[in-house]
Symmetry: C2
Subunit: 227 residues, 2 copies
């Protein structure tokens, strides 16, 4: 369902060119569970933003479910993101002036879900990440790990078929992190696709395939035997 | 040098009271290396903010180097923070419109350090976290782990005698995280005090004392044999 060919991403900072991705090609099928690992600054979030249709490559092709993403306009991209993809950002990106409940309702509002069903689903999503008792807190009234979990709940509330999670457990203790991984596992068992960036081997072990990135290139791409 | 007695912190959210810290007492001596661990939402950052003179407790006493912190005004608190303490925030708190170099220079500006020395020291601090080649990037032009490292560099640039680091390696791969830990180790060997919050046992193992927090209370406070 996802095919990227010879994708590159170059940023310009003043007179300097930063090659965040140099030449990346990969294919991901429906119902795969992929972990992406690599050093800080190696290009993981840049790759995730391209896969999640949040950014376009400088060079190369991105084919999403048969459509050439690079030929799409902003409206079509936004529609794909809302309907098909749930994205957990490395820096959460919550609306600061809305409480946790409203932040989680937001994707359902875009999807046109009626208000009563919306509220119910958002509450359930927050229960699933252990935050039912924090739903009226704004982001600055939440701990770091609580904000991260609100970001996870928001990504899952539309029940998307593809989850892109950029370091979803970075701010969580091991036990809470395992609760989130077990949520992802359920979603995967239901036939969906999971692509997650992680720095931690024990999180990557939940996946069936590990892609290692270094300096804007794929260094290794291997299937792992799941225990 | 740090003594807190029966400290509590209560937040009000609408009609609700959140007891982030319930009754916390502890003493930390000069040149100790303390790790604070505990579940997401248990009160670690709240405790760090009080220790770092960024916030005042609802109840209880905080004695910092013989001074009663709860009796200080904002100016005196700011002075202590700038002169004595280096704080690495869980959410980095970088100035979005300034580049990495300027962000790291900021504490030196408050400290009245002359411009040429300031720039030199800020560049060195960035070199120490492996970011000399990113000094002119703004925070949104940096990866998550790079922003975290800028936050570390900024905390260390005034050469404070007390480092408070709230999950300083949460966004870093193991290798880069170890580089940061080895920086902290040098600072500790030079006679300074380190208090760090972490979710990872292998990071906590660098410390000589581990304090475990649960639900706003200290559950365990033990010295560990350093290997
Ligand atoms: N400004 C605030 N208003 C209301 N509640 C708050 C506020 N700040 C924190 N809290 C609550 O206080 C509790 C402790 O928060 P704290 O940030 O200290 O947790 P933490 O241990 O650092 O968690 P994490 O590991 O997730 O970073 C949390 O349950 C949080 O929801
Ligand atoms: N908007 C931008 N402008 C310029 N350079 C950028 C920009 N965004 C990212 N970069 C650079 O591109 C490289 C890759 O960034 P990316 O965020 O993809 O790294 P990452 O692998 O996610 O790192 P981390 O593990 O630290 O989150 C980094 O060196 C970063 O400095
Ligand atoms: Mg990243
Ligand atoms: Mg915290």
């Amino acid at each position: 369902i996802i095919t990227i060919e010879h994708v590159a991403k170059v940023y310009e900072v003043g007179a300097e060119e930063v090659h965040a991705l140099r030449d990346v090609s990969l294919k991901i099928d429906k119902n795969e569970y992929v972990a992406i690992m690599g050093p800080s600054g190696s290009g993981k979030s840049t790759l995730m933003n391209i896969l999640g249709c949040l950014d376009t490559p400088t060079r190369g092709l991105y084919n999403f479910k048969g459509h050439n993403v690079s030929e799409m306009n902003d409206n079509e991209l936004a529609k794909i993101r809302n309907k098909e993809i749930g994205f957990v950002f490395q820096t959460f990106n919550l609306l600061p002036r809305s409480d946790a409940l409203h932040n989680v309702e937001l994707p359902l509002i875009y999807a046109g879900v009626p208000a009563s069903e919306r509220k119910e689903r958002a509450i359930l999503a927050l229960e699933n990440v252990g935050l039912a008792d924090r739903m009226h807190h704004k982001p600055n009234e939440l701990s770091g790990g609580q904000r991260q979990r609100v970001a996870v709940a928001r990504a899952l509330v539309t029940r998307p078929s593809i989850i892109l999670a950029d370091e979803p457990t970075g701010n969580l203790d091991t036990k809470t992190g395992e609760d989130i991984m077990s949520l992802f596992n359920d979603i995967y068992q239901q036939g969906n696709t999971i692509i997650l960036v992680t720095h931690e081997e024990y999180i990557a072990e939940h996946a069936e395939r590990i892609i290692r990135i270094r300096d804007g290139l794929i260094e290794r791409d291997e299937n792992v035997i799941k225990r």
